[in-house]
């Protein structure tokens, strides 16, 4: 059972306020019962699913809403402990392959899906996608779910000549990031039901759809850029979020620098070790009784060198990319916060303008302009979605970093254990003397 705020539901648009149960609205009205997910909530909102929803500005909402209360329950119970039993959508990105054509060379990845959701025609899918397909998906999600935080993709552009786009290391890092991205989307209670995600996971050929999508993309992107309105009263919690993000991204940057520095120092240490070990071998060659012990030490240093090499590689591959991914996440989150500010600013401006006009006309107060109403809805929707996404993000972040840092500790422990084993195994060799002077120690 999830504790805390209920998960955000599909954004609704042009509906009279009374018919919609906003998580935020529910809080303000304060009946405690409405705060916790219960079958009541499910019943109350099942009606939404059947209606044709559209966003405040008229664009159809391209989300597939929960068709039944039971699946809603499932989503609400999902929370942050990712028990395999409650999840019904599993995605994986693997098997990178290089494609060479006359026009270009690129990498595709296998996207495998396993699901019991009725929104999908089949229980299993396996398709091949390239980076720009992921980019398409992300853009579609951003446009169709503007009030939600969309996980980031790994960097799009790589400097040719500086980074080898086809090196095993680069492709492996990218694959992991794409896998992470898709899993995060699949775990999101709203995003995972997005029609575009469905298409992405199931369609044999994305290209056709992409062509059409390209045209609409242009128009959509203008949507939430800015209304040019100035924000007056940003709620405290969002200011706190923005401040946190600033400080957090600073810390990420520092950790990135430290990690890079450590890798550099370790690499230089490795260079010296690789010269150090062989000197013992050279020495062994001119000694008689000390020959075995010296060779033993040379071998030991060589083993430690290999272990160090592995450690540095692990840190490069596992640690740095995740830090950088979170830096991108911070940027994505900041963008969403900015959008929210704009929506609120627009509302404030319209509210003011309406109040002004009302004064002028001196008409009755009962008629609240639907335009303003719609803005208010948007703000409240946005705030609810954002808060839910924020909490989810914080929780995931905690888990991710716990996992990441534990991994760092593990890698270092493994390194020392390998070295320990090497030195311990050389001790008996060092004690062991020639047969003429047999000795036990």
């Amino acid at each position: 059972m999830s504790a805390g705020t209920p998960k955000s539901l599909a954004s609704s648009g042009q509906k009279p306020i009374q018919d919609i149960c906003h998580p935020l609205g529910a809080e303000e009205v304060a009946p405690a019962g409405l705060r916790t997910p219960s079958p009541d909530v499910g019943n109350a909102t099942s009606s939404i699913g059947e209606k044709d929803l559209s966003l405040p500005n008229g664009t159809p909402v391209e989300t597939s809403s929960p068709a039944s209360s039971s699946s809603l329950l499932n989503r609400l119970q999902l929370d942050d402990d990712l028990d395999g039993e409650t999840r019904d959508l599993f995605v994986t990105v693997d098997d990178p392959k290089k494609h060479v054509s006359t026009m270009e060379t690129y990498i595709t990845y296998r996207v495998a899906t396993k699901t019991t959701r009725v929104e999908f025609d089949l229980p299993e899918y396996s398709v091949r996608r390239r980076y720009q397909d992921f980019d398409w998906l992300r853009t579609k999600l951003e446009d169709s779910q503007p009030t939600h935080l969309i996980p980031p993709l790994p960097q799009k552009f790589v400097m040719k000549g500086v980074v080898d786009r086809f090196s095993e290391e680069f492709v492996a890092t990218r694959r992991k990031a794409l896998d992470k991205f898709l899993k995060r989307v699949a775990d999101h209670p709203v995003l995972s039901f997005n029609e575009h995600l469905n298409t992405f996971l199931s369609a044999k050929d994305l290209n056709k759809r992409q062509g059409l999508a390209l045209l609409t993309k242009m128009g959509e992107s203008v949507k939430y850029v800015t209304g040019g309105y100035k924000l007056r009263a940003r709620p405290m919690e969002f200011t706190a979020m923005a401040e946190y993000l600033d400080m957090f991204s600073q810390k990420l940057g520092t950790m990135d620098r430290i990690a890079q520095r450590i890798i550099k120092e370790q690499s230089e240490y490795l260079v010296e070790l690789r010269e150090y070990g062989p000197v013992y071998s050279t020495w062994a060659a001119v000694e008689a009784e000390l020959h075995e012990p010296l060779e033993g030490v040379a071998g030991c240093v060589a083993n430690c060198s290999s272990a160090l090499d592995e450690l540095t590689e692990d840190m490069s591959e596992d640690f740095l990319p995740v830090l950088r991914e979170y830096a991108l996440y911070v940027e994505a989150m900041k963008a969403v916060l900015k959008k929210r500010d704009n929506v609120q600013a627009e509302y404030e401006a319209k509210l003011e303008a309406a109040a002004f006009r009302k004064e002028e006309r001196a008409t009755s107060v009962q008629q609240v302009p639907t335009d303003v109403e719609r803005c208010q809805d948007r703000v409240e929707c946005f705030n609810a979605d954002l808060k839910a996404d924020w909490d989810r993000w914080q929780s995931n972040k905690r888990q991710d970093f716990r996992h990441l840092l534990t991994g760092v500790a593990d890698h270092n422990i493994q390194y020392y254990e390998k070295c320990l084993a090497a030195w311990e195994s050389v001790i008996p060799l060092l004690h062991d003397k020639q047969p003429q002077e047999a000795e036990t120690d």
């Binding site: 946190y244 400080m247 957090f248 810390k251 520092t254 950790m255 430290i258 520095r261 450590i262 120092e265 370790q266 230089e268 240490y269 010296e272 070790l273 010269e275 150090y276 000197v279 013992y280 050279t282 020495w283 001119v286 000694e287 009784e289 000390l290 012990p293 010296l294 030490v297 030991c300 905690r398 970093f401 716990r402 840092l405 534990t406 500790a409 593990d410 270092n412 422990i413 390194y415 020392y416 254990e417 070295c419 320990l420 030195w423 311990e424 050389v426 001790i427 060092l430 004690h431 002077e437 000795e439």
Partner: protein
């Protein structure tokens, strides 16, 4: 009063032997038992170091370090007493003087080396300053080691000058110079650096000399790289300290993650700090290697001395042969060897019978002298080879033993380092898991 007792003991001690199986024990104990030695009757240590200022030979003010040499007769302690040791102060230059004296007086012995005069093979944190307390301390230990090695050597430990050095502060320098070793010292230096071709050296000594060259170059290389390795290791550990700071800062903006991060940060600080002790310990290993770097030089000197003696013998022999040939020619009138006299005879005519007689007589004297010289040199060479080879064997066994031990303690150090690393990162992991 102690001197008399010592003299008695000295008489008893000559010529005892030691079975090789007893050499398994640790170095000090081994040194005490090896051969008949001073160390059996006298406890020796270099207990302290102090800074002094004074005027040097050119009347300039200088600061230098003196070392306290303490001695205590072992007999005096057996009766349950614990008498205060006798002591005197010596500076490094006096130790050097002692060693030079021993080198010259016992050329067939691989004389133990002194700790280095100036700090070399320094990695960045380590000071190259001779006044640095760590350097002084390591030098004190090195000087003590030097004395113990000498005092346990079956030949060197019997030396009177050594005993004087250990027991009487004043007048020692004068006593050393009175031995007249200085004159030999100069010719020794010349001989060691001169190039000459020996026709028939003892192959064992030639091999040993090659080995000493290898040992010198290898240990020198090893020490240089080891210093660089230490430098890099220092860098790796210290940079981790930055994690401590950033985790602390980060924990301030987190709610549930804060505690775990903060504690992990402390472990990172501890990790960074641990490298100082680790590298301090490793210096001991470096010192052991250095001792054998310098020992290699001493070994080389012994081999070279053999070559020099052999060369002198060969020169004397060939001189003798040529003189004999000259005599023969003079006697028979057949010129086989070139000589100026022969040439001038051809050019300006024969010499008179009286002149010939004189020359023949001179040659005969020279031949007699030459034969004496050859006999002496042959004896000298044989004696030298015999004694030197014995000490070289002793040195070889000591070296194998000491270096094996050094490698073992180095391995133990590394094991300890690894265990500490595992401990710290396991602690940090626990903290991360609580995040």
């Amino acid at each position: 009063m102690m001197a008399e007792a010592v003299n008695e003991k000295t008489a008893q001690i000559e010529g005892s032997e030691l079975a090789h199986t007893e050499l398994e024990n640790n170095k000090n104990k081994t040194m005490v038992e090896e051969g008949s030695s001073l160390l059996r009757r006298l406890e020796i240590s270099v207990a302290e170091a102090e800074k002094r200022t004074g005027k040097n030979t050119v009347n300039m003010q200088e600061t230098f370090t003196v070392y306290l040499v303490e001695t205590r007769p072992i007999d005096a302690m057996k009766e349950g007493h614990n008498p205060a040791p006798d002591s005197l102060w010596r500076r490094y230059s006096e130790f050097e003087l002692l060693r030079n004296y021993l080198l010259v007086t016992y050329p067939y012995i691989v004389v133990p080396p002194l700790p280095e005069k100036r700090a070399e093979f320094v990695w960045h944190k380590l000071s190259a300053d001779n006044m640095d307390p760590d350097f002084v301390e390591r030098r004190r230990v090195g000087l003590e080691n030097f004395l113990l090695r000498i005092a346990s050597h079956s030949v060197l430990s019997n030396d009177k000058i050594l005993y004087h050095f250990l027991t009487k502060e004043h007048g020692w320098k004068e006593a050393v110079y009175e031995t007249g070793f200085q004159a030999k010292a100069d010719s020794r230096i010349k001989a060691l650096s001169a190039t000459f071709r020996v026709k028939n050296p003892d192959k064992r000594f030639t091999e040993m000399r090659h080995y000493s060259d290898e040992l010198q170059s290898i240990t020198s290389h090893l020490l240089r790289v080891r210093a660089r390795v230490a430098d890099r290791l220092y860098g790796v550990y210290k940079v981790h300290g930055n994690y401590g700071r950033v985790f602390s800062e980060w924990s301030a903006i987190e709610k549930e993650m804060g505690d775990g991060l903060q504690s992990a940060g402390h472990h990172m600080d501890a990790y960074a700090a641990s490298v100082d002790d680790i590298l301090e310990e490793e210096e001991h290993y470096a010192d052991q290697l250095k001792e054998y770097l310098f020992y290699a030089e001493a070994l080389r000197a012994v081999c070279r001395k053999h070559e020099l003696i052999q060369y002198e013998l060969e020169t004397a022999s060939s001189d003798l042969i040529s003189k004999k040939q000259q005599r023969e020619e003079l006697a028979t009138g057949m010129v086989r060897t070139f000589s100026f006299k022969g040439m001038t005879n051809k050019l300006f005519g024969q010499e008179s019978p009286e002149q010939r007689e004189a020359r023949l007589s001179l040659l005969e004297d020279q031949i007699v002298e030459g034969e004496e010289t050859v006999k002496e040199k042959t004896l000298e060479s044989q004696e030298y080879v015999k004694c030197a080879w014995v000490d070289i064997q002793r040195f070889k066994e000591q070296k194998d033993r000491d270096l094996r031990e050094a490698l073992i303690s180095y391995a133990i150090m590394q094991i300890s380092l690894c265990k500490k690393g595992i401990q710290v990162w396991s602690n940090a992991k626990e903290c991360f898991q609580k995040m």
